[in-house]
C-alpha cells in the first residue's frame, strides 16, 4: 500500500491523544495538510491552531511542555524548522522541553510548490542543535512507530515527514526499534544508507542491480540523531564502498552523519546521493525525484557510476 508519512502521523496522533490526556497538538494553519487535524477532531480541547505564526507556535508548545504536557507541533518542514530555528534552540531544546516538532512536506517531493517550500536543509539545521533528536521514517508504519516512541520520551525531537505517498517498506505494527538502523537487505561489498523515501529508492536500485549480479546492502536510517553508531560501524566494517541516499542537501544531512561516524571509527569511501548543494524547482514529485536522481533509477545510476 502507498501512503504518505504525514497521513500516518495524523492517524497515530489521533490514537495517542485519546489514550493520553497529557498530549496536546499544535499546528500553524496547515492542520489539514499535516493531518494533525485528525487529532484535533478527536480531542478539540487539546488542539491549538496557532495561525500562520510558527515562532509563536513553537513558543506556545514550549509553555505547554513546561506545564507537564507533551506537545506535538506540526507544519511544513520549511516553516517548522527554518522560520523558528532560534525559538526551537532557545525555547525548546536548551530548556529541554517536551516538544515534538513534525515537519511535513519535507524534501523536493513536496513538488509543484517549488523551492520556497522544499526543505532540503531541515536535517542540517536541526542536527546542529545540541541534543536535538531527529527521526526520518521511511514509510507509514515506521512513522507510526516513531510517533509512538517519541510520545513516551521527554526529549525534544524533530520528525521529518513527506507529502508524497510512499510504498510500504514495513508491515504495520511490526517495525523494529526505530532508534537503531535496520538492514533491510544484506548484500556484499556495497552498502547504501538511506533515509525517508530514499529507502524505497534504494530498494528499487537494489532490484535493478541484482539483475546484473550486483548484490548491495540497503540500510534504513530512521534515527538521524542520536545515531546508532555501533550499528553503522558494523555495516561500514563489512562493506568496501558506501553510499548514502537522502532527499536533502548533501551537506550536513544523513551523508554527513554517516561520514562523521566513518572518519571516527571506520574510514570508508562514501558517495553521498542527495541534492548536490543546489536548489531544485517546480514539478511533480515523481518528475523531480527522477530529474534530480533520487528515484530508484537515480540511485542505480549513482551506484553504477562508481563501480
Amino acid at each position: 500500500m502507498a501512503r504518505a508519512t504525514r497521513e500516518a502521523y495524523g492517524e497515530e496522533l489521533a490514537k495517542l491523544v485519546q489514550e493520553d490526556p497529557k498530549i496536546v497538538v499544535l499546528d500553524a494553519d496547515l492542520a489539514g495538510s499535516t493531518h494533525s487535524i485528525k487529532a484535533g477532531k478527536v480531542a478539540p480541547e487539546r488542539f491549538f491552531d496557532m495561525g500562520i505564526a510558527e515562532a509563536d507556535m513553537i513558543g506556545t508548545a514550549a509553555g505547554l511542555a513546561a506545564s507537564g504536557y507533551t506537545a506535538f507541533a506540526s507544519t511544513f518542514a520549511m516553516f517548522a524548522t527554518g522560520r523558528p530555528w532560534e525559538q526551537i534552540r532557545n525555547s525548546v531544546v536548551y530548556p529541554h522541553l517536551n516538544v515534538k516538532i513534525a515537519g511535513s512536506h519535507a524534501g523536493i517531493s513536496v513538488g509543484e510548490d517549488g523551492v520556497s517550500h522544499q526543505a532540503i536543509e531541515d536535517i542540517a539545521i536541526m542536527r546542529s542543535i545540541p541534543t536535538m533528536e531527529i527521526y526520518c521514517p521511511a514509510d507509514a508504519a515506521e512513522t507510526k512507530a516513531v510517533v509512538d516512541y517519541v510520545a513516551k520520551t521527554t526529549e525534544p525531537c524533530y520528525i521529518r515527514l513527506g507529502r508524497a505517498k510512499v510504498e510500504d517498506v514495513y508491515e504495520e505494527g511490526n517495525v523494529p526499534d526505530i532508534t537503531k538502523i535496520h538492514v533491510l537487505a544484506q548484500g556484499q561489498k556495497i552498502a547504501v544508507f538511506a533515509t525517508g523515501l530514499m529507502v524505497k529508492s534504494a530498494l528499487e536500485a537494489r532490484e535493478m542491480l541484482l539483475k546484473e549480479g550486483v548484490d548491495i546492502t540497503v540500510v534504513d536510517v530512521c534515527a538521524i540523531k542520536p545515531a546508532d553508531e555501533a550499528g553503522i560501524v558494523e555495516v561500514l566494517k563489512n562493506h568496501d564502498v558506501i553510499f548514502t541516499a537522502e532527499e536533502h542537501n548533501i551537506i550536513n544531512g544523513l551523508g554527513s552523519m554517516i561520514a562523521e561516524v566513518s572518519v571516527t571509527y571506520c574510514p570508508r569511501f562514501i558517495h553521498r546521493i542527495g541534492l548536490p548543494d543546489t536548489f531544485a524547482e517546480s514539478g511533480s514529485a515523481a518528475v523531480l525525484l527522477h530529474a534530480y536522481g533520487l528515484d530508484g533509477e537515480g540511485v542505480y545510476n549513482a551506484i553504477k557510476s562508481h563501480i
Binding site: 496557532m50 495561525g51 505564526a53 515562532a55 509563536d56 506556545t60 507537564g68 506537545a71
Partner: protein, 274 residues
C-alpha cells in the same frame, strides 16, 4: 501582604544585590534590572503565591522574565524570597554557577522559563496559560517584556494568540523605559505607542507609573478581575532607577560599574562595598 514601606525596603535591598552581582561579575545588565525592580518586588511579595516550599512546583502562579537580561533582578528577588541562598548571588555569571547570564529554568528553583533571546517569553506564557485552563486551575501567568523587546514580531504573534484564546489568566507587563542599546526607542525604530497596539490586538490595557507601589498593586488587582481578554500593564519606568549616574542613561544597559562608581552606586542605595 507587605506594606508599601516594607516593599520599598525589599526593593532597595534587591537593587543593592543587583549592583553587587554585576559589579562582582564585571558583567550583566544593571539598567533594566534596576528599572523593573519595583514591579518584580510587588509581584513576588504581594501578588504571586510562590514560596520556598512550592518554588519547584508548577502548581502555583508563574512568571516568565521575557526580558531575560534582567536576570540580576530576578535572582535577587528569589534570594529575598528565600528560594535560593543569598550567598549564591556571588556566583552570578561565573563558571559552574546556577545563575547563568540569562535565566535557566532547569537550574534555578523559581525560574519558570529559560529566557534571554528577546521576543520569546510571551508565547511560552501563553502556552502555560493554556495549560492552566486545560488543568482547570486558577493559577495566573505573568510575563515581563521590555519596550525595546516588543519590536520583535513574535510578541505580536503571541499577542494575537492570547486574545484569540481569551487568556484572561495571563497578565503581560511591558517595562517602558524608552531606552534600548542603540539609543532611545523612538530614535531606534519607534515601537510607541505600545498600549494602543495591544489594545488594537484586543487586550485590556492598564498604564501605570512602574515605580508607584499603589499603582502597581492596583493594576495587578484589576487584571485579575478582567474576564475574557488578557491584560497588559504598560509600566513607565526609569532605566537604572535608584542609581544616580545610571538613571535614564543607556550606557548602563549592559555594562558593570567598576572602581569608585561601585561605591557611588551602593552609596545611592544607602549601602557600602562588602
Amino acid at each position: 501582604m507587605k506594606t508599601v514601606e516594607e516593599l520599598k525596603q525589599i526593593a532597595n535591598d534587591v537593587r543593592i544585590d543587583i549592583i553587587r552581582q554585576v559589579s562582582r561579575a564585571q558583567s550583566g545588565h544593571p539598567g533594566g534590572s534596576l528599572g523593573c525592580t519595583d514591579i518584580l518586588t510587588v509581584l513576588y511579595f504581594n501578588v504571586m503565591d510562590i514560596t520556598p516550599e512550592n518554588a519547584v512546583s508548577i502548581d502555583r502562579d508563574r512568571f516568565v522574565l521575557s526580558k531575560g537580561h534582567a536576570s540580576p533582578a530576578l535572582y535577587a528577588i528569589l534570594a529575598a524570597k528565600g528560594i535560593i541562598p543569598h550567598e549564591e548571588l556571588k556566583t552570578f555569571r561565573q563558571l559552574d554557577s546556577r545563575l547563568q547570564g540569562h535565566p535557566n529554568m532547569n537550574m534555578v528553583p523559581g525560574v519558570d522559563m529559560s529566557t534571554g533571546s528577546l521576543g520569546q517569553g510571551l508565547s511560552a506564557a501563553n502556552g502555560m496559560a493554556l495549560a492552566n485552563r486545560l488543568d482547570g486551575n486558577d493559577h495566573r501567568i505573568y510575563c515581563l517584556m521590555g519596550d525595546g523587546e516588543v519590536e520583535e514580531g513574535q510578541i505580536w504573534e503571541a499577542a494575537m494568540a492570547a486574545h484569540h484564546y481569551k487568556l484572561d489568566n495571563l497578565c503581560g507587563i511591558v517595562d517602558v523605559n524608552n531606552l534600548q542599546i542603540d539609543g532611545t526607542t523612538d530614535h531606534v525604530i519607534g515601537p510607541n505607542p505600545i498600549g494602543p497596539k495591544f489594545a488594537a490586538f484586543g487586550w485590556n490595557v492598564i498604564e501605570i507609573d512602574g515605580h508607584d507601589y499603589n499603582e502597581i498593586q492596583n493594576a495587578f488587582a484589576e487584571a485579575k478581575t478582567v474576564k475574557g481578554v488578557p491584560t497588559v500593564i504598560i509600566a513607565n519606568t526609569v532605566k537604572g532607577k535608584g542609581v544616580s549616574f545610571m538613571e535614564n542613561n543607556v550606557d548602563w544597559h549592559g555594562k558593570a560599574p567598576s572602581g569608585d562608581l561601585i561605591k557611588v552606586a551602593l552609596n545611592d542605595l544607602g549601602a557600602q562595598e562588602e
